[in-house]
């Protein structure tokens, strides 16, 4: 009797453990079953490399579903987030791991942890009311030769907000990587006559290289997957990005903006957009796994 209970419970645990596999399978099935046929119907080249996204267009040409502008937009946002967020994040992590006085650390660390908890809508709202007006004045000065109005909703604004949003990821993982470096590396450097700063930057940081790189990769994943904050500050023009101070649309934004009213092929093209996004995330995940496996 006792053994039966043990047996049943073990199977229940096993069943629960398999739900995450089931979830992945279901997600893949529902995305791919709807998305892949759409890609074939549109034509893979037309879909991935087409520069026109005009799903509601009638007439002779008919609707066009090219998501290259959104892919380029996502890549721009990602690069912008890296340029802004990564140096700040890594230096902050170095600060926390090696430079920060202990008393200051116990106060500052929880404060910076707050960054991870702020909802993306709040980030987006902040970007909308604070960053966008600043960018608008820049855009009015420098981009008057370009068509369309300078609203300030732009690649730059999105990059700044995304740069701030990836900070907690970059900081937390880089800091952990640096703390995992054996203390005697540092002591050895000191014994050879290097100063504190020199030992930190030329011995400790290079030793944590793969962990730091992993933090960047994870940050990139967060930046590419971010939706609401980007939608609120990026302008969301579905055309090839023309200027840093003008708008662009990300893959995520494309889905959230149009899913509400899309139908038929348009709807499936949006699901196919999610498939592309999924592939991006898959690549990032594999890179991350390879990076962290090497370091262990």
């Amino acid at each position: 009797m006792y053994n039966v209970k043990e047996f049943i419970m073990e199977k229940i645990f096993l069943l629960c453990a398999c739900t995450s596999i089931l979830a992945i399978l279901l997600i893949c099935w529902f995305l791919f079953a709807n998305g892949i046929p759409a890609i074939f119907e549109i034509g893979a080249a037309n879909f991935l490399l087409g520069t026109n996204w005009t799903p509601m267009q009638g007439g002779e040409i008919g609707p066009q579903f090219g998501i290259l502008p959104m892919i380029v937009g996502s890549v721009y946002f990602m690069l912008g987030a890296i340029i802004i967020g990564v140096p700040i994040g890594i230096f902050t992590a170095i600060f926390f791991a090696h430079m920060c006085p202990k008393k200051m650390y116990t106060f500052l660390k929880p404060v910076v942890n707050l960054l991870a908890g702020i909802p993306s809508v709040v980030y987006g709202f902040f970007g909308m009311v604070m960053i966008v007006p600043i960018v608008r004045t820049l855009a009015m000065r420098f981009t008057t030769h370009l068509p369309g109005g300078a609203t300030g909703m732009s690649i730059l604004a999105a990059a700044i907000i995304l740069g701030i949003m990836i900070l907690p990821t970059v900081i937390a993982i880089s800091e952990a990587a640096m703390r995992a470096v054996p203390k005697n590396y540092y002591e050895g450097a000191l014994a050879l006559g290097a100063s504190h700063t020199r030992s930190v930057f030329f011995v400790m940081v290079p030793a944590a290289k793969s962990g730091i790189l992993a933090s960047v990769v994870l940050g990139v994943g967060r930046a590419i997957g971010e939706t609401m904050a980007v939608v609120m500050v990026a302008g969301n023009h579905a055309r090839m990005p023309i200027h840093l101070l003008r708008g662009a649309r990300s893959l995520t934004a494309n889905i959230v903006i149009e899913m509400g009213y899309a139908a038929g092929l348009h709807r499936n093209a949006l699901i196919a957009t999610a498939v592309v996004l999924f592939v991006f995330i898959l690549i990032i995940n594999i890179t991350f796994t390879l990076l962290t496996r090497k370091s262990v």
Binding site: F13, A23, G117, P119, M228, V256, F288, T289
Partner: protein, 273 residues
């Protein structure tokens, strides 16, 4: 001489960038608090939402219900998975590696993809419609990796002596797990669950197409709801209610502050005890 300049430059840069991080955070928090607190009118907390008072009260209630429901689905599932991975299978087992990589993949999927999946599967395929249930189920898949990971870590931190002691006293595996190991891992799991609550409250993209955007106190599992973050998004996208959006931001920030403090408090208690 040159090394000294580089040293100083790096030193200054480190402090500078750490300062930038702090400045970014503080400017977000204070900008929203300063602009939002004056607009926290009592009319924002009236029980009925109308287009005039744009009350956030129904959204607050909805958020609490969504959190409770999501946890009810995800926490038992996550804890049982964690128990299986840590207590029942040997390390290096293929299934474990497979499950672990799927949870990692789950953790990396963007929330909008969850939203899309939730819409295709729960809302359309299972015919739930835009509802509390569909939203909570979608979110529970989303936070599952978080619960699994914290459970695993908390269980691993329990010394093997506890298990051996239980077995030596004649307890079966199940009894050892539920009476000895799990209770001592509870604070760790709890800290993770609190962070998961933070994620649920902060989520918006996964909810718009699963739970919908109707601002009402839900009447049942099948009624559409609007959580606080979605409420804030709707207010800003309508662009008529910026002041109310600020006020909603204040409420959200306070909740985040509360959650982080509580979680940090628990974590501190753990490392001390």
């Amino acid at each position: 001489m040159r090394t000294k300049i580089i040293d100083t430059a790096l030193f200054v840069l480190t402090w500078l960038f750490a300062g930038v991080t702090l400045l970014a955070l503080l400017s977000i928090i204070f900008y929203i608090l300063i602009n939002g607190i004056p607009h926290l009118n009592p009319s924002l907390f009236e029980t009925q939402f109308t287009t005039e008072n744009v009350s956030m009260f129904p959204s607050i209630v909805s958020t609490i219900i969504v959190v409770a429901l999501t946890l009810a689905f995800a926490v038992p599932l996550g804890i049982f998975t964690g128990i299986y991975l840590v207590e029942y299978v040997k390390r290096g087992n293929r299934l474990v590696i497979f499950i672990r990589s799927t949870t990692e993949l789950l953790a990396g999927i963007p929330s909008i993809v969850y939203g899309l999946f939730g819409m295709l599967f729960f809302v359309v395929f299972l015919g739930m419609g835009f509802s509390l249930l569909a939203g909570s189920l979608t979110l529970s898949i989303m936070i599952l990796p978080m619960v699994i990971r914290t459970t695993e870590e908390a269980l691993k931190a329990v010394p093997d002596g506890f298990r051996e002691g239980a077995f030596a006293l004649g307890a079966g595996k199940l009894r050892a797990v539920f009476k000895i190991v799990l209770p001592s891992a509870i604070p760790g799991i709890f800290a993770g669950v609190i962070l998961a609550i933070g994620r649920i409250i902060g989520e918006s993209a996964a909810l718009i197409f699963t739970a919908g955007t109707v601002a009402q106190i839900p009447e049942g599992l099948s009624s559409s709801v609007r959580t606080l973050t979605v409420h804030m998004w709707v207010l800003t996208s309508e662009a008529l209610h910026l002041n109310e959006a600020y006020a909603t931001g204040v409420v959200l920030l306070l909740v985040v502050l509360l959650i982080n403090t509580f979680s940090a408090f628990l974590a501190k208690k753990l490392t001390k005890g």
